[in-house]
């Protein structure tokens, strides 16, 4: 069992990386557990909120569970609880392997872990207590913001130290990780402090637009792709198809993505030439994304069977298809022609779900499917069947939801444009909202199946029991 298809050649000679005390697997496991816990909470919050739209919100009249607050719990829980935690776990796994150096300090890792959970928990409590900040995706109460920035700086120190200590050519993933660690701290500071303390009015809208977009584009996207560049070649046991295309993808993203933000506020009083600039930059991103997608699918060529036999690969590549879809969608929906109709509608909500759940959620779930058994010391998954259900329920739920919300958006947009009375537009939306709730329910059910499977697998790991999972279960853990 030797390693490793990707990464700089010097790694290839080494024996199993984990024979060195390189990776603290307990930290990774704890991040995954925290991540999944917040995932479930945030999904339930989303489900509850969706019932508002069917006039049957279960907690109506309870101030702390006011639907607006629960909506923010849903989005912030997913961004900072689910995605950030899972990514921190992924970084703790991948960075030391890519640099052959451990992180700066084990104690620091634990400190960051604890601090981050406190940040997410107090964000949740703060939002429910009615202390939100009027920055979309950054509703974190203002008194938490400095702590969060400090936390991000510590993450940077912890993760960048092995990168700096390591000499020699860097693998693609590391470019993404380095840049993402810098960008995340900058983005968070920009979005949470500038519009609050220094810049008001219309100009603060521009900054908030940048923040909304950079959070996805400069924190979630680069870490997500960095992890894909790491896991996909390892599982497929072959290198990424083209180094040149990786370069194009990275630098294209680095240049164009930060220029996109204002497209969230088209037709506002923000100067029109900046809106046009943001639109062009967004379309450019779509071209860049295409190169990345081509690179990954060319890598898959000849190993296509893995989509069927290897569950993590299936999660990853279906996520990539969704990624390409969202980006293609973006190139159109960002134009003023589309904006006129679809802005403010459920079309955008569908788009957001496709990105957060369909892409990054899928990648994270794939990563968990791949790593979880070995993190708990099991030789495979408890049940391959449950894993399969997990995938299909998530995927079908996601597809139904995004198609449904896209249609809802078109109906709403044209109804508004036709000057339909507002109440009637609600009537027109109701069937779509009903389907949305069911689709979300399927996605959540899938996660409960996964949860059950994880609990069973973990207890198997503790008892040192044998596998029943096999390959389809994602039991390939021979990195």
């Amino acid at each position: 069992m030797t390693t490793i298809a990707a990464g700089p050649p010097r790694v290839a000679g080494l024996d199993r990386a984990e024979s060195l005390p390189l990776v603290n697997e307990r930290v990774v496991l704890c991040y995954f557990v925290a991540s999944f816990t917040f995932f479930i909470i945030a999904l339930l919050a989303g489900l509850a909120y969706s019932l508002t739209f069917l006039q049957s919100y279960p907690f109506a009249g309870i101030e702390w569970l006011s639907p607006g607050r629960v909506r923010m719990l849903h989005t912030n829980g997913l961004a900072y609880g689910f995605i950030a935690n899972a990514f921190l776990g992924g970084l703790h796994w991948a960075v030391p392997r890519l640099t052959l150096r451990s992180v700066l300090s084990d104690k620091l890792s634990w400190l960051i872990f604890v601090v981050w959970q406190l940040i997410v928990l107090s964000t949740a409590v703060g939002l429910l207590a009615g202390e939100a900040q009027a920055v979309e995706w950054g509703e974190t109460p203002v008194w938490i913001d400095p702590v969060a920035v400090l936390g991000l700086l510590l993450v940077g120190a912890n993760m960048l130290t092995p990168v700096i200590r390591f000499k020699g050519p860097m693998y693609v993933s590391l470019w993404y990780f380095i840049a993402a660690l810098v960008w995340t701290a900058l983005t968070y500071t920009m979005g949470n402090f500038f519009p609050q303390y220094w810049i008001g009015g219309t100009a603060s809208g521009a900054i908030i637009g940048l923040f909304i977009h950079d959070l996805v584009g400069l924190f979630v996207t680069p870490i997500g792709w960095g992890l894909m560049y790491y896991f996909v070649p390892i599982i497929l046991k072959k290198p990424i198809w083209s180094h040149g295309l990786s370069l194009v993808g990275f630098w294209g993203l680095a240049f164009f993505y930060p220029l996109n933000g204002i497209h969230h506020f088209l037709y506002t009083p923000i100067p029109m030439f900046l809106q046009h600039g943001a639109i062009l930059a967004t379309i450019a991103v779509e071209l860049v994304v295409t190169t990345v997608i081509v690179n990954f699918f060319a890598t898959l060529r000849g190993s296509g069977d893995a989509l069927r036999t290897n569950l993590p690969i299936r999660w990853f590549y279906v996520g990539m298809v969704f990624y390409f879809t969202t980006c293609l969608q973006c190139a159109f929906q960002v134009t003023l022609t589309f904006q006129r109709i679809i802005h403010f509608s459920d079309w955008v909500v569908g788009h957001a779900h496709l990105v957060m759940f369909g892409v990054f959620g899928f990648w994270i779930l794939g990563m968990m499917t791949y790593l979880f058994p070995r993190l708990v010391g099991a030789s495979g998954w408890y049940s391959a069947k449950l894993n399969s259900w997990h995938f299909w329920l998530s995927a079908i739920g996601m597809l139904v939801m995004v198609l449904d919300l896209t249609m809802a958006g078109l109906v709403q947009g044209f109804a508004w444009d036709a000057l339909m009375i507002w109440e009637e537009t609600l009537r027109a939306s109701t069937p779509f909202w009903l389907v949305r709730t069911y689709a979300g329910g399927a996605m959540i059910l899938a996660q409960f199946l996964f949860l059950y499977n994880m609990v069973k697998t973990a207890s198997m790991g503790r008892n040192g029991a044998a596998v029943s999972g096999g390959i389809v279960s994602g039991g390939k853990i021979d990195v």
């Binding site: 109506a60 009015g201 930060p258 506020f265 006129r340 403010f344 955008v348 609600l426």
Partner: protein
Amino acid sequence: MFESKSGVLVIAGLAFFIFAFIVMGALPWTIYKDQPELTALELADRGLTHEFVGLAEQFPERFAEYFGDVTPGAFAEALTLGRDVYVAEACWHCHSQFVRPVAREDIRWGPVAHAREYSNELQRPVLFGTRRVGPDLSREAGRRSNDWHIAHFYDPTSVVPLSVMPRYTWFFDENRVPNKKGMAVISFVQWLGCWVDEYPYYEEGLYSNPAPMPSAGADDELAKHGDAVDEKA
């Protein structure tokens, strides 16, 4: 350079980000720098709204208890608190606060948004919003009566049967009289757009005067209306 640590860190991580921040963030700020950002008190000094005074007249004791006398200072306090509630309850995730120059929004709500309208403390961070489950609120002032809002916040379906807006029962005391939060949030929505000379009551008109059965004359009227709509679009 493209694959070195310093290249990635300095050029991609810092330089590109700062470049984008300057172009897309700092530039609009310099453009609007000359518009002074008014404080809530300066806004209130421009005059109290009828609706704010109306609250004081309708609930004199409660009002006095919460805000004291009917002064610009009290109005500023109510607006600020109303805005805080608007943020805390995520009203801005269901309601936008800008009228676009497209999709006939000026017919439904009135004058298209202007940057000047946002140069004040209450729009920091700005409350443009990105989703409309309910209608835009930037032209809400005076569109409805205080009583309508009181009934609506307590139970939206009591006035709009299909409404999916949440109930805000905690804006009220045990006698269903708006409490401090309730008065503040009503003052806030009744203030939004009060600086605009006039705007249409599009839906109001359709509700209260259902169009008569089309006769020859009415047809012409409708046709004219249709033309106007098309021109504006």
